[in-house]
Symmetry: C2
Subunit: 488 residues, 2 copies
């Protein structure tokens, strides 16, 4: 088990845990895989991670019955690059989910984006298909919405969900509402067939996504092994919940959404037990990036003790809640900490933490600088860090720390309030370790073709496949490709 | 069970839980009581409260086997007043642990203090003595060090520990080193017979305190019911740990100290089991105030997601970790949240939080303003809140919010980053509820004689009882009473 688990390497976890149970001739059927990916949910949002209201009993039980990772990192603090990394196992600088338009800015896949997941990338469902798996994505794709990027062209067998964020409502003139797909064709649009009431926060989408998941699990339980990627988005602004959950949380609307998701996950695990496939199903829970503090308090979650959140490379942007559950294979109540010791493990020597853990995936500061990892600077940091202001660390303007990176001891200072003194021996020692990993990374790096450079209003979701049957095709404007503007 | 448990009312918890098991004729022996009080340990310092390094396996197990309180509050964000409230069940403004020298300043009991716990106060061990208990305090007293304030004059039968903080070393000329007592007499002084190495952080005091506790428990196990108040101070700066624990934590020296305390508590619970008295011993764990962020990162703990820390009335200063453990009486794995619902409880409507929970003990801002609770202002807030800066909330100078208190919704905003808008209906409704509780409090209030006004260098620990036998008596300077200066 690696010291720090990163989203690009979560597959390894499965391989380690399954310990030869897959693929060998005469071996038992390979395990089903249920990947539960949250949207903008923060490290501090689960009771088991210290959320004071303790409103996630099902996830807390999942942790108690499985393994909890306090040091799990996403590969990027923004949705599309993080998801691309999760499904490809490769950093955004490699899989193309970055921009060269601007220096160290966040870029993703709004509906005017021209790019998306390249055919050259091997996604997890493509690999699993070779092992006989049937794969379904429920919820948000976000790896490009033009025809060549469709999830069913990248290994998935089924899809129910949307290609982009559920922003809106749009007027379908200047900008179309986002479509919802079933498999190859759209079946409606957000704010039309799939309403979200922005005033009350009511939407029954999580219930729909739950039903899609349960139906798939039940159908597949006695057939081929399955991979279900459940990528719900109720905790991404505009945050929503269905009527039975609205107003039930002590945490406001965000809490309502989190409670509904927690409840849904409880139902899924229950179905696995009912179908007697729990001991043959590996369930992994995590989030795409940290809580969006700019949406707080009503529509943003919590990053616990960590600094800042989504859109920043501080701990609050990239450290994620993560749980693994697999009865009979993962012993109950395990915690994998910084050094990979279990809850009952012997005392360990202190570790010098930093923005990166040197033996793992190099975290970097933005898609634009994936080749210069470890170097901390703030991305207009203070704007994403309400109520937090660390002198010389969170800054209003972008600062380049390439020459003299800020380094933190994450054991003593998980909140990144006390950068190591540049003059200290501890800093020099950490820098030398980090520099060596940076060099290895840079030498090995083959950057992918950047996918997030070109935008064009003509490529938006005007006339997705299936729109004719529904009478919902819209007319795109003239095609004018231009550089995407990434200002944050 | 009350909505929010406060340190002034923790006894009630015991009464509720023992449910008639005490005092009645023919009833079983009343339970032993083990009160584990931490020093400057923060809400976020336990694994079970989300500390990322997860280095408190014994306390985490204690929580899993017992009850966890995410909303437990001390009565004051500073040591002496908090401890006075814990042992008397009365607010500092009532029991005298406040000052009228300065407006809204923190005051405590340094060794030049003249005051201490008044004879008119009934302490828990005094009450328990009437019920046949034998009581011992191990560790820090901090309710006054002059002869009339000695713990054995206030209900305790035994003492091993010190009357003041373990600051030093002093030169024994301008200022004496703090004595360590066994019962009525001193047995040495810090930095002399009881060394603390400030450079390495080494001291074996926690081991001594553990041994004192174990000896007392074993001796009392088959005699009278006991009350053991274990008030260790290794997590208060200067932070210390014994050699086997030094350098073992990922969190630096503070973590070493916390690990040693966690290990000691594990040993105590184990002994209760070994002696077959676990099901007749109520164990309660909490801390006197929030983590001292000004001592971070090497010598200060974590307040998790909460704002600021010790010396402030923000959540970080007064919300404490709290665990109750009593096998056979407290069911395992319970969590008492804001509304008193268990982990598996039904959804509850949202609650408007604020500095105070209206149906419970009125929190107030400082000893000087115990009669104007609920009113938030910062005590040079930013100085105690490194890295945190909430506009209009944390301020450099004292601000009086009496007329227009800042009110927070602690469910949505536990970090107190978003004060409710003064103009909102939510604010007005919360204010009206709070105002009514303030009025009730003010009408019922009989302030105690303030104990923290007068200081005098002559009253310091120059010649504590027993000093003659040890040849350690020092000569006090001329007696010059003056007003204590409380600048923070």
């Amino acid at each position: 088990m690696a010291a720090v688990v990163a989203a690009t390497r979560w597959w390894r976890l499965l391989l380690v845990l399954s310990a030869g149970g897959m693929g060998a001739s005469g071996a038992p059927q390979p395990p089903n895989i249920l990947l539960l990916l949250m949207d903008d949910m923060g490290w501090g949002d689960l009771g088991v991670y210290g959320e004071p209201s303790r409103e996630t009993p099902n996830l807390d039980r999942m942790a108690a019955e499985g393994m909890l990772f306090p040091n799990f990192y996403s590969a990027n603090p923004l949705c599309s690059p993080s998801r691309a990394a999760l499904l490809t196992g490769r950093l955004p600088i490699r899989n193309g989910f970055y921009t060269t338009n601007a220096h160290a800015r966040n870029a993703y896949t709004p509906q005017e984006i021209v790019g998306g997941i390249p055919d050259s990338e091997q996604l997890l469902p493509e690999l699993l298909k070779k092992a006989g798996y049937v794969s379904k994505i429920v919820g948000k794709w976000h790896l490009g919405h033009r025809p060549q990027f469709h999830p069913l062209k990248h290994g998935f067998d089924e899809w129910f969900g949307s290609p982009n964020c559920h922003f809106g409502p749009y007027d379908n003139k200047a900008r179309p509402n986002i479509p919802v797909y079933r498999d190859w064709e759209m079946v409606g649009r957000y704010y039309e067939e799939f309403p979200i009431n922005l005033k009350t926060g009511e939407a029954n989408l999580t219930q729909i996504y739950l039903q899609e998941a349960l139906d798939f699990i039940k159908r597949q339980a006695r057939r081929h092994p399955f991979f279900l990627y459940w990528a719900v988005d109720a905790t991404h602004a505009p945050v929503y919940a269905s009527k039975p959950f609205l107003g039930t949380s002590q945490r406001g609307r965000y809490g309502d959404a989190a409670r509904e998701i927690d409840d849904s996950i409880g139902k899924m695990l229950e179905v696995l037990h009912d179908l007697h496939i729990a001991d043959n199903t590996f369930v992994f829970f995590t989030s795409d990036n940290g809580a969006a503090l700019i949406s707080a308090p009503e529509q943003g979650g919590s990053n616990g003790p960590f600094l800042c959140g989504k859109q920043t490379t501080f701990e609050g942007g990239m450290r994620e809640p993560a749980l693994a559950w697999w009865p009979g294979h993962i012993a109950a109540g395990q915690v994998r900490t910084l050094l990979g010791t279990g809850r009952q493990g012997p005392p360990q020597p202190p570790v010098r933490g930093s923005r990166t853990q040197a033996d793992e995936v190099p975290h970097s500061c933005s898609q634009g600088l994936q080749d210069t990892p470890f170097l901390l600077f703030s991305l207009q940091g203070i704007d994403f860090c309400p109520g937090q202001n660390v002198s010389g660390v969170t800054t209003h303007n972008l600062e380049d720390h390439t020459k003299l990176p800020l380094i933190f001891h994450l054991g003593r200072d998980p909140g990144e309030r006390f950068p190591l003194s540049f003059a200290s021996a501890e800093y020099q020692e950490a820098l030398s370790r980090i520099t060596s990993v940076v060099q290895q990374h840079q030498e090995a790096l083959v950057p992918g073709q950047p996918q997030l450079n070109v935008c064009n209003w003509a490529v938006m979701n005007w006339a997705p496949p299936g729109c004719e049957k529904l009478g919902k095709c819209l007319t795109p404007p003239e095609s004018i490709p231009k550089k995407c503007l990434w200002s944050h």
